[in-house]
């Protein structure tokens, strides 16, 4: 099929499934509702794969020029279209919004390597999660939960929205997808709407995202003001060319403002530091949702967006610095909180925050392809971890606090092994997927002008390994304990196990598309930067012109041995840290379970700070929510007292006159006659005076 048809089909298939389920699910399909959505998402996945082959062919056809362009990036001709030719052109579906005289903001799609990567990631994880949900959203007897069809309709809608976000060819359509995924997140977090905490979490997620979107929307408006277009390629070309030509028409301040406003949106969506508060609460939603939306796909939209706008960001060193700093801060901050939590899903949520921080760190130092690589690997192992947690939760009748159970590895072997593998990947154990991607990011950071970001990354890597295995040891090891009310733990059914296994396989092997083998690097076999980076290279070739991106820009050359073994010390160091973290966790939580308590007691206030998530929620409540609420009270009071008071005063003037005149209005004829006489006298006097 044609590229365009495929691109249109990809979002529409899940949407069709979702719409059908929404329309007839309640009456007709009931607990068979999943089939339509599953079919839609799977078909979309096949379309995406087909799209991938087409794009790959296209890239290879123009490959020589691409390589030349990248290789000779120092002398790129400003007038030349960037490497991947017509792929960069977005194609218009229809005219959407009129922005003044004969100027339309269109519904345009753009299919390029970055899109493909995101599509494949999103759709494959989605397929797994939809499959998993079929098992998860039922009780132990196989009956569907209340709202089963609603759940699948929302899932389908989410996949549609995410595909729109990814496929968008301009900023406005990106915003559409951006908001729609926010809506789906809202609906799915609030799936158990009768739980007040879920309802609150849904609202919070939407609102915090809106704060980000406020900035994002302004960024889009500013882009339109600056470039008079919202199309990706036109904007990027203008930025890139102005940078090349040293044109002053586009001041750096303007570009920085645009970049930072866009980054506001990314902070909201990807839960970066000041706006991270919604993500842990979002775990109130059903676990598949946490896996899909709040770990693998939606929250990475911010990363995707910054990567997509790499040209804009790369043009502003300040913005890049801020992105990196916030990423690093979030990574460390979230990891410290994760150390102290006991709710499995919350630990994973903070871990997600932390990993997203890594991605932004990578973006901030210009390693856009590495960040995307990490996004891609992270999707698999984090989804697997969440689904595993969901499996545990399902077996424990909804209990997820790791203090309440332990030693599950015997009863739930599949869950345990998949969880373990993904946990190892998360911890950054060598040869698993995250090892490659995380290491690349840290490497790029260390090589950049801000190496301290890399050091933060290394510390976080140690913490990650520790808290991951703290969770695994507490939940799956030691003697078997079950929460009250659960007679025996049992392994989940095939609907749930199959996705776990598939994702675990992904967690192991997904990293190898980004690795070059046979060059004699790490362990004598592996060098970073593989096919994945080649594939993405055209997207970031523009941005790599910037001096901040030197380290990552080495690209192909990196593995060729120019740096030799000197870069491999990092790989050894980070694997050592991972193992050290795992060892510590083992020691603390299996050998000497008293130690953590002792530490917690010894470091009382620090522990409490971590445990209460740095009191950020409380702070926001105090600083923003309450004053705003007071302001609302004031507005309403102003309405009732000030404005209505003024109105009353204005209305009192005629009322007072009427009150005065009422005395004259006695109804007696003679009274009126008196008035007449007085009037007559006045008139006559007036006439005489003027005679």
């Amino acid at each position: 099929m044609e590229l365009k048809t495929l691109a249109i089909l990809i979002p529409l298939l899940p949407l069709a499934g979702s719409a059908l389920v929404g329309a007839i699910g309640l009456r007709g399909l009931k607990d068979r509702s999943h089939w339509l959505v599953l079919a839609g998402v799977t078909a979309a996945l096949f379309c995406a794969v087909s799209l991938f082959y087409q794009v790959n062919t296209e890239l290879n056809r123009g490959g020589s020029e691409t390589a030349a362009a990248i290789g000779a990036h120092a002398q790129i001709d400003p007038s030349q279209q960037v490497g991947y030719g017509k792929l960069a052109e977005s194609f218009t579906i229809y005219e959407w919004i009129p922005a003044g005289a004969a100027d339309w903001l269109n519904v345009t799609f753009r299919v390029d390597p970055l899109t493909i990567v995101m599509l494949l990631t999103v759709l494959s994880v989605s397929t797994m999660v939809v499959m998993y949900s079929v098992g998860y959203m039922r009780d132990h007897h196989g009956h569907a939960e209340l709202g089963y069809e609603r759940f699948f309709a929302f899932l389908g809608l989410f996949v549609f929205s995410m595909c729109m976000l990814v496929l968008a060819g301009n900023f406005l359509l990106l915003y559409l997808g951006w908001e729609l995924v926010g809506l789906c997140s809202y609906l799915l977090i609030g799936f158990y709407y009768q739980k007040p905490s879920a309802a609150a979490a849904a609202k919070k997620a939407f609102l915090v995202n809106r704060i980000g979107d406020f900035g994002f929307g302004l960024g889009i408006l500013l882009i339109y003001l600056t470039f008079n277009t919202l199309d990706y390629q036109e904007v990027f070309n203008m930025v890139a060319n102005s940078k090349m030509a040293g044109d002053l028409a586009l001041s750096t301040e303007r570009i920085t403002t645009i970049a930072l406003l866009l980054f506001c949106g990314a902070m909201g969506k990807s839960a970066q530091l000041p706006l991270h508060v919604w993500l842990p609460d979002a775990m109130e939603g059903p676990t598949p949702v946490s896996a899909l939306i709040h770990a693998a796909t939606m929250v990475t939209a911010g990363v995707y967006m910054v990567a997509r706008c790499s040209v804009i960001f790369a043009a502003s060193p300040i913005a890049m610095w801020i992105v990196g700093a916030i990423g690093a801060a979030t990574a460390l901050f979230a990891a410290t909180i994760a150390l102290t939590q006991f709710d499995m899903k919350r630990i994973l949520a903070y871990s997600t925050l932390s990993q997203l921080g890594y991605m932004f760190l990578g973006l901030g130092v210009g390693a856009f392809d590495s960040a995307m690589f990490h996004l891609y690997t992270h999707a698999f192992f984090k989804a697997c971890l969440f689904l595993g947690a969901g499996s545990v939760m399902h077996a424990m009748a909804g209990e997820i606090d790791i203090r309440r159970f332990s030693g599950l590895r015997k009863a739930m072997p599949i869950t345990y092994f998949t969880f373990l593998i993904s946990g190892l990947a998360l911890a950054g154990v060598p040869l698993l997927s995250a090892f490659w991607s995380k290491d690349e990011i840290i490497h790029a950071a260390l090589a950049s002008s801000t190496p301290w970001l890399g050091w933060i990354g290394l510390v976080t890597a140690f913490l990650t390994a520790f808290y991951t295995f703290r969770m695994i040891f507490m939940a799956f090891h030691n003697e078997e304990r079950l929460p009250r009310g659960v007679e025996h733990a049992h392994e989940s059914g095939v609907w749930m196990s199959a996705p776990l296994v598939l994702l675990a396989i992904g967690a192991v092997f997904a990293g190898y598309v980004g690795v070059t083998t046979g060059h004699g690097g790490f362990l004598g076999m592996f060098e970073p930067h593989g096919a994945f980076h080649h594939f993405l290279a055209p997207n970031f070739s523009d941005a790599k012109g910037h001096e901040m991106t030197v380290a990552a820009a080495q690209g192909v050359a990196h593995g060729a041995g120019e740096h030799g073994s000197e870069s491999h010390w990092l790989m050894w160091l980070s694997s050592g840290l991972a193992f050290y973290g795992i060892f510590n966790a083992w020691y603390f939580y299996t050998r000497r379970p008293g130690i953590p308590l002792a530490i917690a007691l010894a470091s009382g206030s620090v522990y409490k700070l971590f445990y209460h998530k740095y009191y950020v929620d409380e702070l926001y409540d105090l600083v923003f929510v309450r004053p705003l609420r007071r302001l609302g009270d004031m507005c309403y009071a102003c309405d009732r007292f000030v404005i209505n008071g003024i109105l009353w005063i204005i209305a009192a003037i005629p009322r007072a006159i009427g009150f005065l005149l009422r005395g004259w209005q006695q109804g007696a004829m003679q009274g009126y006659a008196l008035g007449m006489v007085v009037g007559l006298v006045v008139i006559m006097w007036w006439v005489l005076a003027n005679a």
Binding site: Q665, Q666, G667, A668, M669, Q670, Y672, V677
Partner: protein, 100 residues
């Protein structure tokens, strides 16, 4: 031959006295009498002005004043009688239905 201005002055005073009567008396019959006094004043003024202008038309109009006075007396008194029969009193204060 007296000065017409003097006639007008007296007429004006008569008119004003009639007005006071109309305003102050509560007996409807007396109120009507007061209006008759006012008519006298008007009549004198008309004649006086006619004299001042040296023509007869003032007196001509005076005839009509008489006509109006007769009509007014006839109708007004009929109404007074009706009102009296309705309330059993001649007090004008008793009729206040104009009050809002």
């Amino acid at each position: 031959m007296p000065n017409p201005t003097a006639l007008m002055i007296v007429g004006a005073l008569l008119f004003a006295i009639g007005v006071v009567g109309f305003l102050t008396r509560r007996n409807m019959i007396v109120m009507f009498l007061s209006t008759e006094v006012m008519f006298q004043g008007v009549l004198m003024n008309l004649v006086g002005m006619g004299l001042l202008h040296g023509n007869i038309q003032g007196q001509g109009l005076g005839i009509f004043v008489l006509v109006i006075a007769a009509v007014e007396a006839g109708l007004g008194l009929a109404i007074v009688v009706m009102l009296y029969r309705r309330r059993g009193t001649l007090d004008a204060e008793n009729w206040r239905s104009l009050r809002g």
